[in-house]
């Protein structure tokens, strides 16, 4: 069987979910039975089909959702060269844990926002929204990885955070396309400002971190370049692309990548809550900040989703302002997608500098094809779903009404893949690595650069380009 990359697999699975859910726009509801979590006090109401008029019982709806996702991912596993049997067993456990975390995160006293207190008959809640399920999933994954490494090892076959988040990103493109059609001017502004912020981040982040790693931590060029890309640009993908571009040994990128995931977990647990506390009056700054500060797609885009929920909840509770859902996530996604797109270009530039000036090797030439080789292909899926829905809805504004229920259906799978991403990030984060000799030096440069510079400079850039830009207010 022909093997494909994780990126292309994410494109095909994401497009299939998009196509099936988009049928609802034409009156054919193929996935309306899919199970989604609701804010609950009575456990029997924790899950229900996403379509309001669906009569499918909740447990049957959940079983159908599980079978659908199992079918999609097992078929995908075959294309990745993984044995579907072992994948299916591990996937089943991960799916069950993800749903449990989502249900726990939707418990009314944890998730309810103030506007829902009366309807639920409660007087208080932690106001963390249903997205707290993501944090619970992350903590569950961390607990398994660090307390029961054997179980984590057995689940390893299906613990693929990058695949799950890329599928989720492709699916999310559709909802963001519809949102952009509603407020087209704002969407254009977000895209332009996101591009500007990323250009700045690339040029300044990388140079500073490379200098710090070389000058103060005395790393060799082979280690400093992937480290600078991993810390400053986009974690795992950038470290691997840079390592390949400068012909570093593969182990260099692997070591850097293992640190990227560990530090991304720390950022995930801290930054969205910092943003909620200090940036609820500048929601788009917070969204861009998540994209520029949290490394790797697996952590950054879900961090944007959590920040979206937390800030909207805080703005509502503190000032009665009800922002539309999704604009903060869109800002995070836009900056992160631009970062991903530029990885190939940056790797190309570094490859030319290395092979021409730093370590010239006779006969080695860098072709422009390297840019395409390093291009993150899942971005194609995201751009497709985004552009199709934008084009469809801009053509006739009355179509927006029909498009929204379709994206709500797709959103069920976006959320489930996000949950699995969080759980898997926890599963692959082995904090014991930090105690290993030698790693300390790598960890030190990472910690100093991330917490001493990247996070705060990312905040400054986000502020400069997004301050004063507000999401539209929710109507009704």
């Amino acid at each position: 069987m022909t093997r494909i990359s994780e990126d292309w697999l994410a494109v095909w699975i994401g497009l299939l979910v998009f196509a099936l859910s988009a049928a609802a726009m034409f009156g054919v509801d193929l996935l309306g039975w899919s199970a989604t979590s609701k804010v609950w006090l009575d456990p029997s109401r924790a899950l229900s089909p996403v379509a309001k008029d669906s009569t499918v019982p909740p447990l049957l709806s959940l079983a159908g959702t599980y079978l659908f996702m199992l079918l999609l991912t097992c078929a995908g596993a075959k294309f990745l060269g993984i044995r579907p049997g072992r994948f299916a067993a591990a996937f089943t456990v991960l799916f069950a844990l993800s749903v449990l975390c989502s249900v726990a995160g939707h418990y009314a006293y944890i998730a309810a926002t103030p506007d829902k207190f009366d309807r639920l008959g409660i007087a208080w809640s932690l106001n963390l929204t249903g997205e707290s399920g993501y944090i619970i999933a992350l903590l569950a994954g961390l607990a398994i990885a660090n307390l029961s490494p054997r179980l984590a090892g057995r689940l390893g076959e299906a613990a693929r955070p990058e695949l799950y988040v890329k599928i989720a990103i492709v699916i999310m493109g559709a909802a963001l396309g519809v949102k952009s059609a509603e407020t087209f001017g704002l969407a254009q502004s977000v895209i332009w400002r996101g591009l500007c912020a990323v250009v700045e981040a690339y040029l300044i982040y990388w140079a500073v971190i490379y200098y710090v790693a070389r000058r103060y931590f005395r790393f060799s060029r082979e280690w400093a370049a992937p480290l600078a890309s991993g810390i400053s640009i986009c974690g795992v993908s950038a470290a691997i692309a840079t390592g390949a571009a400068i012909r570093a040994r593969p182990i260099v990128a692997v070591m850097v990548s293992s640190l990227v995931v560990i530090f991304a977990v720390i950022e995930l647990l801290v930054l969205p809550f910092l943003a909620q506390h200090f940036l609820y009056e500048e929601p788009m700054v917070a969204g861009a900040w998540m994209g520029l500060a949290v490394k790797t797609d697996g952590a950054a885009i879900p961090a944007g989703a959590i920040t979206d929920s937390l800030i909207r909840a805080k703005a509502l509770a503190a000032g009665g302002v009800q922002y539309q859902e999704g604009w903060i996530s869109m800002t995070t996604t836009t900056t992160k997608i631009f970062i991903d797109v530029f990885i190939g270009v940056w790797a190309f530039v570094l490859a030319i500098i290395w092979t021409s000036f730093i370590e010239p090797k006779p006969g080695v030439r860098v072709g422009i094809g390297e840019i395409w080789e390093r291009f993150p292909k899942f971005v194609i899926g995201y751009v497709l779903t985004f552009a199709v829905m934008l084009w469809w809805c801009l053509g006739d504004e009355t179509r927006i009404g029909a498009a929204k229920p379709a994206t709500e259906v797709a959103n069920v799978y976006r959320q489930l893949f996000f949950l699995m991403t969080f759980l898997c990030i926890g599963l692959v984060s082995d904090f014991r690595r930090l105690r290993e000799e030698g790693i300390g030096r790598l960890a030190a440069v990472y910690a100093v650069s991330l917490f001493g510079f990247i996070i705060w400079f990312g905040l400054l850039i986000s502020w400069l380009f997004f301050a004063g830009v507000k999401p539209p207010l929710a109507s009704g």
Partner: protein, 49 residues
């Protein structure tokens, strides 16, 4: 095998010899920062103007 490989990498990280910054590396760092600063002014001007 894996443990031996890990140990080798750990030793390498601990005993890495210092490679002084080459002039071309300095140019890369400085060029990137200068371009970043110039573009920052330009992009802010076009975004806010």
């Amino acid at each position: 095998m894996q443990n031996e490989g890990d140990r080798r990498i750990r030793d390498e990280l601990q005993r890495m010899p210092y490679e002084p910054l080459l002039p071309v590396e300095r140019k890369l760092i400085l060029g990137s920062l200068v371009l970043g600063a110039v573009l920052l002014i330009l992009l802010l001007w076009t975004t806010r103007g």
